[in-house]
C-alpha cells in the first residue's frame, strides 16, 4: 500500500486519535519531569529519543493532510518539546543526543552515497557541472555582497573595518552555498520520488558536499588576514584539507569494499553491521579528523557502483529510514535556539529569502546553459534551499577559527539555517508533487510482513 493510499484512508477519527495520543505522550512526559525534576544521565536521553520518535511520527501524520513533508513534522515536534517551548526536554538532554545524531548522520550519508548511480551521474555530468559552477559562484558572490550591503541591519558588523567586513561577507557567502543532504534524502525517503528532479537534486546536493568543504576552507584562508590583520595567508590549511579529503575518500572506498564483500559473502544482520560501522567508524574518523559525511557517502557510492550489492544495501538502509530521520530532525528541532531566532528573525529572514531568490536565479541561468528540461528549469532550485547540520557544523568551525566575530556570526547562521531548515523541505516536497515524481513506488507496510512458522 502506498503512502498516499494510506493517507487517503486515514479518516478524521484516526487523525483525532493520533492527536489525542500525542497529547497523552506529552502529558506523560510533562508529569514525569514534574514528578522527578532535575534528573540527567543516559536514561533520560533514551526517554528523549523515545519521545521524539513518537512525537515526530505523530506530528508528521498530523500535518500530512496539509501536504507538508514529514521532516517538517519531526522538526516541529522537536521544537515544541525542546527547552524553549514546552520544556519537556532540557538543554542538557538535547546536547546528550549528539552521539545518536552522529550515528544518524553517518547512516544518512551512507544512504546518500548508495542512492547515487554512476551511470546517472555520468549522464547528468554536464548539467551538474553547470549547476555547481553557477550556483556556487552566484550564491557566493551575491550573498557575500548582500551581507556586505546589509551592514546597517546586522549589528555585529557595524563596528568592523571594511576589510574585516569583506572577510566576514566572504565567509557568509561560502556558508550560503551549503545544502542539506539529510533534508534531501529525508524527503526522497518519505515520498519515494523518482524522476529527473529527484535524480538531479540528489546528485547535486551530494556532490556539493565536497565542493562546499573546499570552498569554506578556501574562504577561511582568504578571510583570515582580512579579519585579523596580524594573521597571514597560510597554505597549511589546504594541506590539512587535502589530507582530510583524500583520507576520507580512501577510507570511504575501503569501507565500501568491505561492506560489498560482506553483502556478497554473508548478507545477514546488516542493521547490526551498520550500527557497528556507525559507532566504530565515527570514532575512528573523529580521531583521524577525516570528514565523516564524505567518508560514509563514498562508502555508499562504492557499494552501489563498484559491486552488484547496491540494491541489497539500499533495501537494508531503507529499513532504518524513518527512525534515523525522526531522531535527526526532531533533535535538530529541539536544539533550535528559539529565543535567538526571535531576536534575529528579521535579518535572518532577509538573508534566507535572498538566498532562495539567488538560488532560483542560479537555476534559471544554469538550466539555460545546460539545456535542462522544463521540469528542472522550473523546480531544480527547490531542493537546494534546505540547510541543516552541514551549515551549522561549518558555522561552528568559523566561530572557533574567528573568535572576534564567532559568537554573533554563528548566532546569525543558526537563525538563518533554522528558516531554511523549515522552509526548504516544504518547497522541495511541493516541487516533487507538482513535478509528478512522488508516489511511484509502493511503501512496505506492516500488513506485508509474513510471519514465519512458530
Amino acid at each position: 500500500m502506498s503512502g498516499a493510499a494510506a493517507a487517503g484512508r486515514k479518516g478524521i477519527g484516526t487523525r483525532a486519535a493520533h492527536g489525542l495520543l500525542l497529547l497523552a505522550f506529552c502529558a506523560l512526559l510533562f508529569a514525569v519531569t514534574r514528578a522527578v525534576p532535575e534528573v540527567h544521565g543516559g536514561l533520560w536521553t533514551i526517554t528523549a529519543i523515545g519521545f521524539l520518535l513518537l512525537a515526530g511520527t505523530l506530528t508528521s501524520e498530523a500535518i500530512e493532510p496539509l501536504g507538508l513533508p514529514h521532516l517538517t513534522g519531526y522538526l516541529v515536534a522537536g521544537i515544541a518539546a525542546g527547552p524553549y517551548v514546552l520544556r519537556l526536554l532540557d538543554e542538557h538532554t538535547v546536547k546528550s543526543l549528539s552521539p545518536v545524531n552522529t550515528l544518524a548522520l553517518s547512516l544518512i550519508a551512507l544512504a546518500g552515497g548508495a542512492e547515487l548511480d554512476l551511470a546517472t551521474v555520468r549522464r547528468e555530468a554536464r548539467r551538474l557541472a553547470w549547476a555547481s559552477l553557477v550556483q556556487c559562484m552566484l550564491v557566493l558572490v551575491l550573498m557575500g555582497g548582500l551581507f556586505f550591503a546589509a551592514r546597517p541591519i546586522i549589528p555585529f558588523t557595524r563596528s568592523l573595518p571594511t576589510t574585516a567586513l569583506v572577510g566576514v561577507a566572504l565567509l557568509w557567502g561560502a556558508l550560503a552555498v551549503t545544502r542539506s543532504p539529510s533534508a534531501t534524502l529525508g524527503i526522497l525517503s518519505q515520498t519515494r520520488a523518482q524522476g529527473p528532479l529527484a535524480t538531479f537534486t540528489l546528485a547535486f546536493v551530494m556532490a556539493s558536499d565536497v565542493v562546499v568543504v573546499v570552498l569554506v576552507a578556501t574562504a577561511m584562508s582568504i578571510a583570515r588576514p582580512l579579519i585579523d590583520p596580524s594573521a597571514s595567508f597560510s597554505p597549511d590549511a589546504f594541506v590539512a584539507l587535502g589530507h582530510s579529503l583524500f583520507g576520507s575518500v580512501a577510507l570511504g572506498t575501503t569501507l565500501g569494499l568491505v561492506i560489498a564483500a560482506y553483502l556478497k559473502l554473508v548478507n545477514r544482520q546488516m542493521l547490526v553491521v551498520l550500527l557497528v560501522l556507525g559507532f566504530g567508524a565515527s570514532t575512528v574518523l573523529d580521531y583521524l579528523q577525516f570528514d565523516a559525511l564524505l567518508t560514509f557517502m563514498v562508502a555508499g557510492f562504492i557499494v552501489r557502483n563498484m559491486s552488484k550489492q547496491g540494491h541489497k544495501f539500499l533495501a537494508c538502509i531503507e529499513q532504518t529510514g524513518n527512525v534515523v530521520y525522526v531522531v535527526f530532525f526532531a533533535t535538530a528541532g529541539a536544539d533550535l535556539d528559539v529565543p535567538l531566532l526571535r531576536g534575529l528573525w528579521p535579518v535572518a529572514l532577509v538573508l534566507a529569502g535572498a538566498r532562495s531568490l539567488v538560488t532560483w536565479g542560479g537555476s534559471l541561468i544554469a538550466g539555460r546553459l545546460s539545456g535542462d528540461p522544463p521540469v528542472l528549469r522550473r523546480w531544480s532550485w527547490s531542493g537546494l534551499v534546505s540547510q541543516a547540520g552541514l551549515a551549522l557544523g561549518l558555522s561552528t568551525i568559523v566561530a572557533r577559527e574567528f573568535p572576534s566575530i564567532g559568537t554573533p556570526f554563528r548566532a546569525l547562521a543558526v537563525a538563518t539555517v533554522a528558516i531554511n531548515e523549515m522552509v526548504g523541505p516544504v518547497l522541495f516536497k511541493l516541487a516533487l508533487d507538482r513535478a509528478g515524481e512522488t508516489e511511484r513506488r509502493e511503501a512496505v507496510s506492516l500488513a506485508s510482513i509474513r510471519p514465519g512458522p512458530g
Partner: protein, 410 residues
C-alpha cells in the same frame, strides 16, 4: 577496556547472537539458558580478569536498561502464545500457579535463611532480597522445551503442555518485580504517592504506551514508521519508569501485552520483533556476568543452596499438579516437574534489574542467585525433560540418546 571497545564488542556479540536466531546456522553450539555468555562476562569482569572495569560497566547502565526493556517488551508481545498457537486457559492457570508456588516458596525460604543467618540488612531490604530471589527463580525459560522438542523431534500432548506452561509463567514474576520495586520508592520523587499505587502506575504506564503503539499500528503505518513506534514506546516505557524508580521490565512487559491485545497485527509485529530478541539478549547476559560479585556476602552460598533446593522441590510439586490434570504428564513420571527447572534469559534479566535498582547486597545477591539457579537448571532441566518425554512415548530412543546441543534461549 574502554567504553567504545566494549560497545563494539557487545555489538559483535549481538551480531553473533543473530546467527543463533534460526538455530540452523550453528546448531549444536550453545546452552538453552545462554549461561555461557554470563560466564564469559564474569571472566571478563572485575571479579576475574578485570578487562571490563566497574566504571565502564556503570557507563553502560542505560544500554542495559534498554536491552532489558526491549526483551521484556518482546516477552509481553509473545505472552499467552507459543509460536502462533494460543496457550490454553488450563496451561495459563497452571503456568501462573507454577510461578506463584515456586516464587513464593523460594522467597519464603530465603526470608527465613536471611533471618536465621542474621544477614546485616534492614527489614525492607530482607523483604526485597527474598522477594527478588523468589521472582528470579520462579520462571521456566520459554524456549527450553522447544529446544528439546526441536532437537529430538518430540511431539505429543506432554511436549505441548510443558511448552505452554513455560510460555505462561512470566506474568507473575514481572508483576512481582513492580511490587517489590515499589517497596523502596525513588527518593527524588517530588509528588507523594501511596506505596500501593506504584505497581498500578507501572502497569498503567506500560498499558498506556502499549495501547498507544497498538492504535498507531492499526493506522497502516509504513514498516519503517512501525519500527519507530515500537522503539519509541519501549524507550519511553524504560526511561519514564526508571526516572520514577519503577520496574522498567514490568512497564515494558505490559506495553508488549497491550500491543499484543489491542493490535490486529500481533502476528506481524511478533515476526518483526522476535528475531531481535537474541541479538539483544546476549550482550545483556554478558553485562550481567560482568556485574556478578560472588564475594559480596558470606551468606551467599547458604542463600543460593536454599533457593535452588526450594525451587527444585517446588517444581516437583508443580509436576504433581500437572499430573493431576494431564494423563500424558502422569506418563512422564514422578519427577516430571523437574522438566521445568530450566531458567535463563528472563531470570537473569530480573536479577540484573535488581542489581541496577538496588546496588549493593540486595541487587548483587539476587543477580548471583538468578545466575546460579539458571546454571543448576541447565544441569537438571533438559535431561529430565528428555527423560519425561521418552517415558511419555513422545520421543524415540535413538533421538533421546543423541548429545544435547542447543540454542540460546530467553
Amino acid at each position: 577496556m574502554n567504553a567504545v571497545l566494549l560497545l563494539t564488542g557487545l555489538l559483535v556479540l549481538a551480531y553473533l547472537g543473530s546467527f543463533l536466531v534460526s538455530g540452523r546456522t550453528v546448531r549444536g553450539a550453545g546452552l538453552p539458558s545462554g549461561i555461557e555468555y554470563v560466564a564469559l562476562g564474569f571472566v571478563l569482569g572485575p571479579q576475574a580478569l578485570d578487562l571490563v572495569a566497574g566504571d565502564t560497566l556503570a557507563s553502560f547502565e542505560p544500554v542495559v536498561h534498554v536491552a532489558l526493556g526491549w526483551l521484556a517488551f518482546s516477552v509481553g508481545l509473545d505472552f499467552g502464545f507459543s509460536g502462533e498457537r494460543r496457550v490454553s486457559a488450563g496451561s495459563l492457570v497452571l503456568g501462573t500457579l507454577s510461578s506463584l508456588l515456586t516464587g513464593g516458596a523460594v522467597a519464603t525460604a530465603t526470608w527465613f535463611v536471611l533471618r536465621r543467618l542474621h544477614v546485616d540488612v534492614t527489614p525492607v531490604e530482607r523483604l526485597l532480597l527474598a522477594g527478588g530471589v523468589g521472582t528470579a527463580c520462579s520462571e521456566t525459560t520459554r524456549h527450553a522445551v522447544r529446544w528439546v522438542v526441536d532437537r529430538h523431534g518430540a511431539s505429543g500432548p506432554l511436549a505441548v503442555r510443558l511448552d505452554e506452561v513455560a510460555h505462561a509463567d512470566d506474568f507473575l514474576p514481572l508483576l512481582a518485580v513492580a511490587v517489590l520495586f515499589a517497596l523502596e520508592p525513588a527518593g527524588n520523587v517530588a509528588t507523594r504517592v501511596p506505596l500501593r499505587d506504584w505497581p498500578a502506575i507501572t502497569v498503567g504506564l506500560g498499558l498506556l504506551l502499549g495501547g498507544g503503539a497498538a492504535l498507531l499500528a492499526r493506522s497502516e503505518l509504513r514498516l519503517e514508521d512501525t519500527w519507530g513506534v515500537l522503539f519509541g514506546v519501549t524507550l519511553m516505557a524504560v526511561g519514564t519508569s526508571a526516572r520514577l524508580g519503577l520496574s522498567t521490565l514490568t512497564a515494558a512487559f505490559f506495553a508488549g501485552i497491550a500491543v499484543s491485545l489491542f493490535s490486529r497485527h500481533r502476528r506481524e509485529l511478533r515476526a518483526m520483533v522476535g528475531p531481535t530478541e537474541r541479538p539483544v539478549l546476549l550482550p545483556a547476559l554478558l553485562l550481567a556476568g560482568a556485574r556478578i560479585d560472588l564475594h559480596m556476602s558470606p551468606a551467599l552460598p547458604w542463600i543460593a543452596a536454599t533457593a535452588i533446593g526450594t525451587r527444585l522441590v517446588a517444581k516437583v510439586i508443580v509436576g504433581w499438579m500437572l499430573a493431576t490434570s494431564s494423563r500424558s504428564a502422569r506418563k512422564g513420571g514422578l519427577l516430571v516437574g523437574l522438566s521445568l527447572m530450566s531458567s535463563g534469559g528472563l531470570a537473569v534479566c530480573i536479577g540484573l534489574a535488581f542489581a541496577l535498582r538496588f546496588p549493593g547486597i540486595v541487587g548483587d545477591t539476587v543477580l548471583a542467585i538468578a545466575v546460579l539457579s539458571a546454571t543448576a537448571g541447565e544441569f537438571i532441566g533438559p535431561v529430565r525433560l528428555r527423560r519425561a518425554l521418552r517415558a511419555a512415548g513422545e520421543i524415540g530412543e535413538a533421538e533421546a540418546a543423541s548429545p544435547a546441543p542447543g540454542r540460546v534461549a530467553a
